[in-house]
């Protein structure tokens, strides 16, 4: 063996490394350079069927929820979207020429939804869920565009994003897209029914359910579409749709899934927090056939129970205190045995929110109370009082631990620290 030979693989590796870097740089440059598209020349569509379809898709996607500031004009943007990388501010989607999408063409809108680029060629942040909207058909994107162009124009300048360095830079975004984004339309699965395919298209496209229910990696990209995830800020947990112990609906009757999406409540379960927003602004307005298709798809998701953490029992004294608090504050409505009252107060015995490994949503219900969304099928929901001001962290931890370890429940205890985190 000669003395020079060990250096040869090194030199070879360095060469590969440099070539790789060059390739990466070339791809990045290509990503960053895209033409600005010319302003719109076509007149807004007046096709009634197209406009109806566009309005439905906007409901399915709940575009308004992010693109409307509280109390502001619908779709005029300005709402803050908190992410682990900093704050983003949703843009003005009304057809105002200066501050909205007034100068956008159908082609520019399609490129935004399918490729995540603004009209001027800049890359868009994936908080705008183009990772899902890339699956939408050209026809549906055009319908959505027709709907947005039919809105009254509102002059409201966009707020600049406030992302931390380097996340706010275009090269960082280009790198993220290289790793986690591939454009492509929805491909139907011939082995499945038309209803399943329609459901898959809606759930993974316009409705972008995985944006909340998907598990995310350290880069904020979805690594498991329906595996469950705590929402930014940690005050809500979007439960797994694969796990029947969380929010999986595999064993529910189809009618029950449909009713929950339409009415916001079914006997024994109600939506709350961010999902109440989805039902109130979104799914309650969808055609029943689309809700049925979504239910079919969600019910067919493979069952994949999540791994429960090691069981931790609460101290007997804590359970005693929790029981006393329960009888004092909760039992009048929810019943001595957690049986609830049909049509008014949900049962707590056997309730998945109570027994889920992650106690975030149960704690949020106790702290903040709340109403199920008011829908035509459930116009006057009963409200749960917020106990935030009445009970201390330790008391809420005790009552939550009692709920999680009574009536045959085997969930782990809750600590004051966890209550403080959610409060």
């Amino acid at each position: 063996m000669s003395a020079r030979s060990p250096r040869r693989p090194l030199r070879w590796m360095a060469g590969v490394f440099i070539a790789g870097l060059a390739l990466l740089a070339a791809v990045l440059v290509l990503e960053l350079r895209a033409p600005a598209l010319p302003p719109a020349t076509e007149a807004p569509s007046t096709d009634a069927a197209l406009l109806t379809r566009g309005a439905e898709l906007a409901r399915a996607g709940n575009c308004m929820a992010c693109h409307t500031a509280r109390g502001g004009a619908p779709y005029a943007g300005g709402r803050r979207i908190a992410t682990p990388f900093g704050d983003l501010y949703a843009g003005n989607l009304t057809p105002d020429a200066e501050t909205g999408l007034g100068t956008w063409s159908a082609e520019a809108f399609r490129r935004a939804l399918h490729e995540g680029r603004s009209r001027d060629g800049r890359l868009l942040y994936p908080a705008f869920p183009y990772t899902h909207f890339t699956r939408l058909s050209d026809g549906d994107v055009d319908a959505l565009w027709a709907h947005l162009r039919s809105l009254p124009p509102v002059r409201q300048p966009n707020t600049a994003h406030a992302l931390r360095f380097p996340y706010g830079t275009q090269p960082a975004l280009a790198l993220w897209r290289m790793m986690f984004f591939g454009p492509g339309r929805f491909q139907p699965d011939a082995a499945q029914s038309a209803e399943w395919n329609r459901g898959a298209y809606l759930v993974n496209g316009a409705a972008h359910c995985a944006a909340c229910h998907g598990t995310r990696n350290a880069w904020g990209a979805t690594s498991d579409a329906f595996g469950g995830e705590r929402l930014p800020g940690g005050r809500w947990y979007a439960p797994s749709l694969h796990d029947p112990r969380q929010a999986g609906v595999q064993v529910w009757p189809a009618e029950r899934v449909l009713a929950l999406l339409r009415d916001g409540t079914v006997p024994g379960a109600s939506v709350a927090g961010p999902m109440a927003e989805v039902v109130f602004h979104g799914t309650q307005h969808l055609p029943e056939a689309d809700l049925r298709a979504m239910a079919t798809y969600l019910q067919a998701l493979p069952v994949r129970p999540s791994e429960p953490p090691a069981h931790e029992s609460a101290d007997l004294s804590v359970l005693d205190a929790g029981g006393r608090l329960y009888r004092q504050h909760c039992a009048d409505c929810h019943g001595a045995q957690g049986e609830g009252r049909m049509g008014a107060y949900p049962p707590l015995a056997g309730n998945r929110v109570v027994t889920m490994d992650d106690p975030t949503n149960a704690l949020q219900a106790i702290l903040s109370g709340g109403f199920a969304p008011a829908t035509p099928g459930h116009p006057q929901p009963y409200g749960m009082p917020p106990f935030r001001t009445l009970l201390q962290d330790a008391e809420i931890a005790a009552v939550a631990s009692y709920l999680r370890q009574s009536w045959g429940h085997r969930a782990s205890r809750v600590t004051s620290l966890e209550v403080q985190r959610v409060r």
Partner: protein, 254 residues
Amino acid sequence: MASMVWSTALAWPGTRFDPMLLRHLLLILALVLTTKAQAQTPPDPMAQRVQACTLCHGQEGRATPGGFFPRIAGKPADYLYHQLLHFRDGRRSNEGMRYLLDHLSDDYLRAIAQHFAALDLPYPPPLPPQGDAATLARGEALVRRGDPARQLPACTACHGATMTGVLPAVPGLLGLPRDYLIAQLGAWQTGLRQAFAPDCMAHVAQRMSGADIAAVASWLAAQPLPASTHPAPPASAPLPLRCGFTPLLPGGVQ
């Protein structure tokens, strides 16, 4: 009692009409009917629905003395409805209120407002006055006469001569804690609390100094309620300021 009824009843045949018997039979009938009526009438479903409100605002809308949860019972229905819309839509900022109302429809908010407006509950006596005599006198003067030099109208010009509010949408000013009144006028000064445009209370609050606000709040919080605590009928004379009393239409159009 049952044996008495039986003995009287047994004496019926052959004897003349016994008024005691009729009384007892009527009593039993009345008892049976009331028991049945009780079993059939569930607790007021609206009161059950709004327990989310009453935990803080007090059972049936009574405020905790000195607390920050104002009484809502008996306020004009339109006033309550507008406040629910303001909290939900961000013109008043309170995270807890916003969260509770976020996904409720206009129709349901109106029903909730009507429920609390219809409650007719006694008021507790006012708390002992806070502040010296000069402050209280200044407060009373501003409430009853305003300050024409500063174009500051009297509170009573809009809120009613007895300050119990005016139907359909002007609230009463009595029975509220001093801290609450100060916080509201302060929030109007800074824009944290808003109403429909034109926001007349914002104009009023912005013409008041900190000392004015403290004086007015101190005097109001110390006043007992008049014999009739109900809001006055709608005013026939025009208000001294233009006030917006209509919700905005979708799209921000008035």
